[in-house]
Symmetry: C2
Subunit: 192 residues, 2 copies
DNA sequence: GCCATAATAGAATAAACGTTCTGGAACGCG
DNA sequence: CGCGTTCCAGAACGTTTATTCTATTATGGC
């Protein structure tokens, strides 16, 4: 067995993720990563591959965590309206916490989707996954009589997803937490 | 009087705008502009200044047109709900028309706002301007009794603006026109 | 027709970029 | 202790970037 790594692979990946999230792909140079992560150039290449691969790895990690979080938050016997309200509020708190870097997926959708097929596919898959989670939770609520059966769960789910996209952009560029929460609450009136 | 320009200044600016809109600032190199606009490098510098200035000029032009369009569309005696529905539908049609380049302001908010103070200020101003237009139209509707007076026009306006942001991102990365319109219609239920 | 002026085309420049190469240092195992 | 392997620091490479320089061409008023 040879020399051991002097850094924590997952931890550094998270740091890279936050850098990409705050600055975007193109605006984050490899030298920025080397400087701010405190890991040598060659070690980064050895560990994560090139810049694009590193970005995608970080993005996938981010999405996995996001999906996990959503699944956990939706798995709550409380009334849907309350569940979604808490979910949106927490998302806004998280996005506005450290200087409003927004959502890495949204940032990727805007910066990379048009000219990167992988990102485009990932965005589409992720969107469908979230919509699916939302829709099934909404269907369950319908079965419990919490919301009207006349509403289309998929349309509602998609609308809520689109709302998240909007709030992420606003949080990144405008970043007024209170008005974001107000908007989220208005959006959730669609459930009544 | 010396030699005359061989290109139309406004027309080329619009072409540059569309390039920036489709690819973003960083992903559009100056050589791309030279190649695709059919105007020489030096002429571009002479006419519009450097790349950043050109971008901002294009963005301002885009915003002026957008505000004009909004003002014109809202200046309609029809019921608010109908007016906003038509406005959203037209916006979606426009954004999804030529390969879903999304909205230049939204793209700028995501790509540039975090590290460019000018863009950040422009985004904030523009957001307030649109919110103001929406809010005053909603207030007028309240006076005419079209929507309940209990609702806060500014909160509603802000929510509608956030909805536009979300639809722009979705149109750019996902680009399914029909579900976007469905979402817009759901969002407008907030007026009832 | 000439001259000042300004537009154009393309070479040139300097910096930044992503990536790879080189040399040496650190570690586990025999 | 060395031997092989892996890690690391920094130099080096070739490309791309934004911007400027140079030279040429075209134009309108005298």
């Amino acid at each position: 067995m040879p020399r051991a790594k002097e850094f924590d692979e997952a931890e550094v990946l998270d740091q890279a993720l936050e850098l990409f999230r705050a600055r975007g792909f193109k605006h984050t140079s490899f030298s920025d990563l080397v400087d701010e992560l405190g890991v040598s150039r060659q070690s980064l290449y050895d560990t994560y591959g090139d810049k694009q691969t590193l970005y995608q790895t970080a993005l996938r990690r981010y999405l996995d965590r996001a999906i996990d979080g959503i699944r956990r938050k939706l798995d709550d016997p409380a009334p849907v309206r309350q569940v979604f309200t808490e979910f949106f509020d927490r998302m806004i708190d998280g996005n506005c916490a450290h200087g409003s870097p927004g959502c890495l997926m949204v940032n990727s959708m805007v910066e990379l989707s048009p000219h990167d097929a992988d990102t485009r596919a990932l965005a589409a898959t992720h969107a469908r996954e979230i919509e699916g989670l939302f829709a099934s939770r909404l269907s369950a609520a319908q079965r419990k009589g919490e919301i009207a059966k006349s509403k289309d769960p998929i349309a509602l789910a998609r609308f809520l997803y689109h709302t998240i996209l909007g709030l992420s952009v606003a949080s990144r560029a405008l970043g007024e937490r209170d008005s974001l929460k107000l908007s989220a609450h208005l959006a959730l009136q669609v459930l009544d």
